[in-house]
């Protein structure tokens, strides 16, 4: 029997027990779409600062898992704790305000706004005065933070261009900038390397490996060269279930994994 969905508890940010223990803890997460179980009984815990890859073939339930963690879908059963706090039924924006971030497999940006405005919105979303009618000053701290982030993902030259006009790779970089805004504590990367050129992939690896050490993440990635280079642990999923966990080199050498996922023909 899976744990029932519990009602949200009052916010207890800033208390010591909140940040103790695991960054992310999933217990018996199941998500049904009608009679189909997209994920079933997924139990997983990630330490603060830990970097983990979730691998699996298409339809293994990786993105559904992300959607449950961020609150885009409510799980049918199970419990989600984020830094000790039960967030199972929290709406997405409440989880984001607690330091969770995600990127999307298909870039999910604001096409009608400029690059800097996209990042500014991301910074504003996790701070106060979201409803302010007063224009930010040029020396506003958040404007400054947004400019720093734009620089961090190498988009300073494009900062006033409309996002709809950016090249594909640049949109992927911006996607990462949005996830780094505010004070992220844990990030979910959904296939960040999809469609990137080899140079852009190298850029991505350097962005991921130079993230501050306290920021943990889960990365879904099909490109093993990227995935296994930026993580310290790997979770393998198949048909909505976890079937193996281990260090990258263990997973790479596992015959069962090679048969299922790498198809034997890899490398």
């Amino acid at each position: 029997m899976n744990a029932p969905v519990t009602p949200p508890r009052p916010v207890a940010l800033g208390q010591s027990h909140v940040s103790a223990g695991n960054a992310l803890e999933l217990r018996g997460i199941t998500k049904m779409f009608g009679a189909l179980a997209a994920i079933s009984d997924v139990t997983l815990s990630v330490r603060p600062g830990e970097r983990r890859a979730v691998l699996g073939s298409n339809g293994a339930g990786k993105t559904t898992l992300f959607n449950c963690i961020t609150g885009d879908f409510l799980p049918t059963a199970g419990l989600i704790r984020f830094f000790g706090e039960d967030v199972t039924t929290f709406p997405p924006h409440e989880r984001i305000r607690r330091g969770l971030r995600r990127t999307y497999q298909i870039s999910s940006l604001f096409a009608g706004l400029s690059v800097i405005d996209n990042v500014y919105l991301a910074c504003r979303g996790v701070s106060r005065n979201r409803f302010s009618l007063i224009r930010p000053r040029r020396d506003d701290a958040l404007v400054h933070a947004a400019e720093t982030l734009v620089e961090a993902v190498h988009l300073t030259d494009e900062k006033d261009r409309l996002v709809g006009e950016l090249a594909y790779g640049q949109q992927r970089q911006l996607e990462i900038a949005l996830a780094l805004s505010g004070a992220p504590r844990f990030i979910l990367f959904d296939e960040p390397a999809a469609g990137l050129s080899p140079t852009e992939r190298r850029d991505l690896v350097s962005i991921l490996t130079t993230l501050p050490g306290h920021i943990g993440y889960i990365i879904i990635e099909h490109d093993m060269d990227v995935a296994l280079r930026v993580v310290e642990s790997v979770t393998m999923m198949h048909n909505g279930r976890i079937f193996k966990e281990g260090r990258p080199e263990e997973i790479e050498d596992d015959p069962e994994v090679q048969e299922l996922y790498l198809g034997g023909g890899h490398e």
């Binding site: 885009d72 984001i96 604001f110 706004l113 919105l121 009618l133």
Partner: protein, 354 residues
């Protein structure tokens, strides 16, 4: 010392233009024309044509704010304007002394804005949970319900006949229904509404609203409460609609269910679409075109032997043409024309250099 103090500031000034230096020349020209129009124009132009243009423009602006920035096409804005107008008639003075309370203007005007804002917020809260065509349907349903309610309710809204002799207060000893004062009053309120929308569009709230338009799901994933932003947009848009609605009551000196009927609700949509919903100037251009057609087409139609009622046919055809050829309205046509001209100039100068 003084020299070194001054030097960087001087550099700064050349680098960062002051606010009035950033306003392009055509805007200054437009401002001069509008400010000095009463010198040349007769009262018909000032009161009927321009006054009505500003009023329709402000109500259209409230739709543009919701649709252009928020992605929510609301057919409710004329109803919100009508609610504010009705409140001025009910709480203040009118010819219907049995209903009107006759309170003083400094209670009536804030109360009218507040009640209209409350109405818009509650209606918005119902509408924002839907998207696209369903938003249009639900706002149309609320507009229709309010229209029939005002027509059948006699204790508050005085039913079919509504209210007449609703006059603006004689503030500062000015009769604000005289053409020149009314022109300046409506110009000032329209300019204020326009300026507010332009300013707010770059504020955190305005940017967030545009983010909600482009990608509501991602906005939630950035920590924004999407529903709250949408509802707040309805509340803010109600201010512009209410200002337009109150002016409309004063201009006509009356309000009745016909003022807020279905055709009026659709006229607001036509005005915003014809002018262009992407920029706050659009609704005012749309309103000017609409009013000019409304005012002058009866004469032209009469000359060709058609009934004056047919002017709606001309507006309808114009609407169709705009929707077909320029979905972003007359302003969109203008933008594209300028872009093409600039491109041609670039090609010419580029060709000369090569």
């Amino acid at each position: 010392m003084a020299m070194t103090d001054h030097a960087p500031r001087f550099v700064n000034r050349a680098d960062q233009k002051l606010w009035f230096e950033r306003i392009p020349a055509p805007w200054w020209a437009l401002a001069v024309v509008l400010l000095f129009l009463p010198v040349v124009a007769n009262s018909f132009w000032l009161f009927q044509v321009m006054g009505w243009t500003f009023i329709l423009g402000m109500i259209g602006l409230s739709l543009m704010f919701l649709a252009g920035y928020g992605g929510m096409v609301s057919l409710l804005q004329m109803t919100v304007a009508g609610m504010a107008g009705y409140m001025v008639a009910i709480l203040g003075n009118s010819g219907t002394v049995t209903v009107s309370l006759g309170l003083s203007w400094w209670i009536v005007l804030p109360a009218a804005f507040l009640i209209a804002a409350l109405f818009a917020t509650v209606s918005g809260a119902l509408a924002v949970r839907t998207e696209g065509i369903y938003t249009i349907m639900i706002t149309l349903a609320i507009a229709a319900a309010f229209f029939y309610f005002t027509r059948q309710n006699y204790t508050i809204f005085n039913g079919y006949s509504g209210f007449n002799l609703v006059l603006p207060p004689q503030l500062f000893g000015v009769n604000w229904r005289e053409p020149v004062p009314f022109y300046y009053l409506s110009l000032a309120l329209a300019a204020l509404s326009y300026g507010t929308v332009v300013y707010v569009s770059r504020s955190p709230f305005g940017l967030a609203l545009q983010g909600v338009r482009d990608n509501p799901r991602r906005m939630a994933a950035l920590g924004f409460n999407v529903t709250a932003h949408r509802v707040a947009a309805y509340a803010l848009a109600s201010v512009f609609a209410s200002a337009g609605g109150i002016l409309l009551v004063w201009q006509n000196a009356q309000i009745a269910p016909g003022t807020i009927g279905m055709s009026a609700a659709i006229d607001v949509l036509v005005v915003a679409v014809v002018g262009g919903m992407r920029r706050p100037l659009g609704p005012f251009i749309g309103a000017f075109i609409y009013v000019i057609l409304q005012v002058f087409s009866p004469d032209i139609l009469g000359f060709f032997g058609f009934s004056a009622e047919r002017f709606k046919l001309i507006i309808g055809l114009g609407f169709l043409a705009v929707v077909l050829f320029s979905p972003d309205g007359v302003l969109g046509l203008w933008d594209r024309w300028r872009a093409r001209r600039r491109q041609q100039q670039d090609q010419l100068s580029g060709g000369g250099a090569a």
